[in-house]
């Protein structure tokens, strides 16, 4: 039986406001428990929420960023449930009228195609605190530092058919929100948390199957693995004639499996009703226009511009753009004189490899944009072969100086002088009469292979500094002249 996977995603995005959505407490991550919780966050009697306008602006930015409709009058509601990390016994959320309404987000896939994902809605709400189980031996603790951190919950239609699509969406979302500056999107720290609604149906069928919801998956890799393992689990059940139970599941990364969070699905009744302590958020066209005017160039536009302006391939553009700093680094290299295509290759190749190995971000790169521009320029003007360039790059990484300084210090200049090269070729022909005889006896295909021997000898003797293109031309001519 072939099954089609149907998925919708809910992402909880922590907004990078300085203070909480309804109180003045800091939202900084990693402080000692409960030092960033004031009387409002603690739900003390008589305390009232006051809306942080920055959170509203961030939500509108997001809405405009995906071309969604902005709710002109959105309303906060109370979502009622008891849990120790929820101080008021209700979460202030938006149920009936969200701030961001329907939109379509175009997700770039690896092959350069765009996958349209329908966004159902995105609404503002407050985060809950955390239960802490590893501080006290017999009891659980509550840390309310996170309580009241602004969240944007972004809900999609069931438009995903594969784990790859889901991950591509999350990466594109991450890119968008960091471009917008509304979130750091850090999944490991919980700034971006993903719930996956997942069901299977017979290929060709229109009806949706029973779904499960995998909660709080916290990395791109785990999203992919969680989906694969849940799809496999559901397919096994369906193939053996079983039925799927609608439930909430958790992904256990160590065992690479999902398991039921609540064995029996208790239908939650959150008893939503409009939050009487807050006024509706009224957003007019002038406000929307002002926010729109403040938007930076977004990833989609930047990809298109990189292709047009720098004549990069879709593929390269798609790799350079998602991380804002990488794209900015690239443009800086070009601005400082580096040719676009080799600059892109160096950034996506050697530089990103070295940064990965050193676990550094591009902002902390030991090789500056200026240094890389210098390197690219020396490759373009023929001073450096790609092989020599790698040695210079090492020198740049080790902070030995500028490209020209390293070339001078290491004596890495490429030999392109015809006279000098001719001398090298003559020397190697004279020193290897047997190989010359062999070469002359061979047919066209074999000759190609045998010429490599002479190139190798010359490169060895010149410490790699011979200009390979010129050398090759000269060598073939001289060898053929021997006959």
């Amino acid at each position: 039986m072939t099954w089609e996977t149907i998925m919708g995603l809910e992402v909880h995005l922590q907004l990078a406001t300085q203070s909480k959505i309804f109180s003045g407490s800091s939202t900084q991550f990693g402080a000692a428990p409960n030092v960033q919780a004031d009387a409002v966050d603690l739900g003390m009697p008589g305390m009232l929420p006051v809306l942080n306008e920055e959170a509203v602006r961030f939500a509108v930015k997001f809405g405009l960023g995906i071309g969604a409709r902005i709710g002109q009058r959105s309303i906060f509601d109370r979502k009622n449930y008891f849990y120790p990390d929820l101080p008021k016994g209700y979460q202030i959320s938006q149920f009936f009228s969200p701030i961001v309404c329907e939109g379509v987000f175009e997700v770039p896939m690896e092959d350069g195609a765009l996958l349209p994902i329908r966004i159902t809605r995105a609404h503002l709400e407050e985060d809950a605190g955390k239960s802490v189980h590893d501080i006290f031996s017999q009891e659980s603790g509550i840390d309310l530092n996170r309580a009241g951190t602004p969240l944007l919950e972004i809900v999609t239609e069931p438009d995903f058919r594969s784990a790859e699509q889901a991950v591509a969406y999350l990466k594109a979302l991450h890119s968008l929100v960091t471009y917008l500056g509304i979130s750091d999107g850090n999944m490991a720290e919980g700034s971006m948390r993903c719930d996956i609604n997942i069901s299977l149906r017979r290929a060709g069928s229109d009806a949706l199957g029973t779904r499960t919801e995998i909660k709080n998956v916290n990395s791109f890799r785990f999203v992919e693995r969680a989906i694969h393992s849940e799809v496999e689990r559901q397919a096994d059940i369906l193939n053996s004639g079983g039925t799927i139970t609608q439930e909430t599941r958790l992904y256990d990364a160590e065992r690479d499996e999902t398991r039921s969070m609540r064995s029996k699905e208790v239908a939650n009744d959150y008893r939503y009703f409009p939050e009487p302590d807050l006024l509706p958020i009224e957003i007019d066209e002038a406000y929307i226009d002002a926010v729109r005017a403040s938007l930076p160039e977004l990833p989609a536009a930047k990809r298109a511009r990189f292709v047009n302006e720098y004549e990069l391939s879709d593929y390269d553009a798609a790799l350079l753009v998602p991380d804002h700093a990488t794209a900015a680094f690239f443009e800086e290299v070009v601005r400082l004189g580096g040719a676009a295509k080799p600059a892109a290759n160096w950034i996506l190749g050697d530089l990103s490899g070295a940064l990965n190995r050193a676990d550094l971000t591009i902002e902390a790169s030991p090789v500056s944009a200026e240094a890389l521009a210098g390197l690219v320029a020396r490759i373009e003007d023929g001073t450096l072969s790609s092989k020599l360039a790698k040695q210079v790059f090492d020198g740049l990484w080790q902070a030995e100086g500028t490209t020209d300084e390293i070339i001078a210090q290491r004596g890495l200049k490429q030999v392109s002088d015809a006279g000098e090269l001719e001398q090298m070729v003559d020397d190697v022909i004279t020193a290897n009469p047997d190989q010359v005889t062999q070469y002359l006896a061979a047919d066209e295909t074999k000759r190609k292979k045998l010429s490599g021997f002479f190139v190798g000898q010359i490169m060895k003797a010149s410490q790699g500094q011979a200009n390979p293109k010129l050398l090759n031309e000269l060598l073939i001519k001289k060898l053929n002249d021997q006959s």
Partner: protein
């Protein structure tokens, strides 16, 4: 200077005595503390007395006054309803749940009155979480009506009303969600004003029903209420529902002129539910205003009879969420030795909340439940708008709407305790005003069988001045507001 002149003096009288040096705020404060000490054993109107802090405040007020600083409220003794959070002073809300709760902050109202220089004597008893009309739901025991200690003082601001009537303070604060200032003011023979929703900040007031709660002044006269309201009002950025409107000096707006004032009398407020003797008193008060130049006009508020049903869906619904924070986790009552989380929740809330509070939490939870939301909460929201529209239309042809504050006079303890609906009927004339967010006051209109009756005056949004002025006119022309209960010697 007699005891009575001090204990039952108006703000203006006491201010003059203070500034003339006839009495100091410290002496004034001692006199009221002594009065509380004498009477509270009998009345149970005050749950916490802050003698030491009050005397310190009084001495500071005396210093301010001696430097020629301060204002009309500086040095005047006041009691707060125990629903206002007071920094460092226990704030119980009449509940076992908060029996030992000491806030780290002052409510905005408390801070504003403190800034004005009032002297806080202590905190007044009240119905638990302001849920009640008789002060019988308080965890700290019933409050006795000083006019007849066999009778209730009304509620939920019953402690405040009784304390004021008995001369335990010059001013008291109350809150009014469905009549909790006006009904006890009526039953205890004092003046009490519920301002327009948004006029007074709710920050630091323990919430019952957020869209209806409003704090207001209770005092011996409309003039005193006006002084107090000026000090209590104003925009508070800490309360998103507080109004960004200029606050007039309500006292200076009391011209006493009611010539041409159009007073609407809703037929629905003078129906058969009204005790005929009460009707007679209310009518005679209105005739006084007519004599002073006001016009009486019959009007209709056709959806009035839906007010109780609407209110008892919406208020409990909001309360069910507002009271969810009392879970035994962070503050307030926690049951002994909880077996697990659920046990902690169940027993802390079952033991910490009284019967009426639990009833309303259940009603509110039900009204919001899946499958019932549209039939109850949503429908009630719609009817609320219809009721507001009734008022809006009526105010196109009248300036003030008048009626009784309560359907009868104070009733004996236990008379309505077994019948929640009969108790809810106590607020039949006041609830709609909260649903519409309008200002309303109760002013004394004489006695029936020795017990006070109140006239209710309802104003247009943010037009507290007009109803205060009408009450002021009445208080210039009659002495009903000066009637005092005979405090028996045996009490002291």
């Amino acid at each position: 200077m007699t005891d009575s002149a001090v204990l039952h003096g108006s703000v203006s009288e006491l201010h003059e005595m203070l500034t003339q040096g006839q009495i100091s705020s410290e002496e004034l404060t001692r006199a009221f503390l002594e009065r509380i000490d004498q009477l509270n054993g009998k009345l149970n109107a005050v749950v916490t007395v802050c003698a030491e802090q009050a005397l310190n405040d009084a001495r500071r007020a005396d210093e301010r006054l001696s430097r020629g600083e301060g204002n009309v409220l500086t040095g005047i003794p006041l009691l707060h309803k125990d629903i206002f959070c007071t920094q460092g002073i226990r704030t119980t809300c009449g509940s076992r749940m908060l029996e030992e709760f000491i806030p780290a902050y002052d409510a905005t109202v408390v801070a504003k009155l403190k800034d004005a220089g009032v002297v806080m004597l202590g905190k007044c008893n009240m119905d638990e979480f302001a849920m009640g009309s008789s002060n019988e739901t308080s965890f700290f025991g019933t409050v006795k009506n000083p006019w007849d200690t066999q009778c209730v003082p009304g509620g939920s601001s019953g402690g405040s009303a009784a304390a004021l009537a008995a001369g335990m303070a010059t001013l008291v604060t109350g809150t009014d969600t469905g009549g909790s200032i006006r009904q006890p003011a009526s039953l205890c023979g004092i003046t009490g004003l519920k301002p327009t929703y948004g006029r007074v900040s709710r920050l630091g007031i323990i919430a019952f029903a957020s869209s209806l709660d409003q704090a207001g002044p209770m005092a011996r006269s409309a003039a005193d209420c006006a002084h107090m309201l000026t000090a209590m009002s104003g925009l508070d950025v800490g309360d998103s529902t507080s109004a960004d409107l200029a606050v007039p000096d309500f006292f200076s707006e009391l011209s006493g002129n009611v010539a041409g004032l159009r007073i609407g009398m809703p037929r629905e407020y003078f129906n058969d539910d009204l005790d005929p003797a009460v009707r007679t008193r209310v009518m005679s008060a209105l005739s006084e205003l007519e004599k002073a130049g006001a016009q009486l006009i019959d009007i209709d508020l056709p959806h009035s009879h839906y007010a109780i049903a609407t209110y008892y869906v919406l208020a409990p619904a909001e309360a069910s969420a507002n009271l969810a924070r009392y879970d035994g986790v962070r503050f307030g009552y926690r049951c002994a030795n909880p077996a697990d989380l659920e046990d902690l929740y169940l027993r802390s809330r079952s033991e910490g909340f009284g019967e009426e509070v639990q009833r309303r939490i259940l009603v509110g939870t039900y009204a919001l439940s899946a499958g019932f939301y549209d039939a109850y909460f949503n429908k009630a929201q719609q009817v609320r708008r219809v009721i507001s529209d009734d008022f809006r239309k009526a105010f196109q042809s009248v300036d003030v709407i008048a009626g009784p504050s309560a359907p009868g006079v104070a009733f004996p303890f236990g008379a309505k305790q077994q019948d929640p609906v009969a108790m809810y009927m106590e607020d039949i004339y006041t609830l709609a005003v909260n649903l519409a967010g309008l200002p309303g006051l109760s002013t004394p209109a004489g006695l029936v069988n020795g017990m006070p009756v109140g006239l209710q005056l309802i104003g247009k949004p943010f037009d507290e001045s007009t109803i205060l002025n009408a009450a002021h006119r009445l208080q210039l022309d009659t002495d009903w507001h000066l009637a005092r209960p005979a405090i028996e010697e045996s009490w002291t």
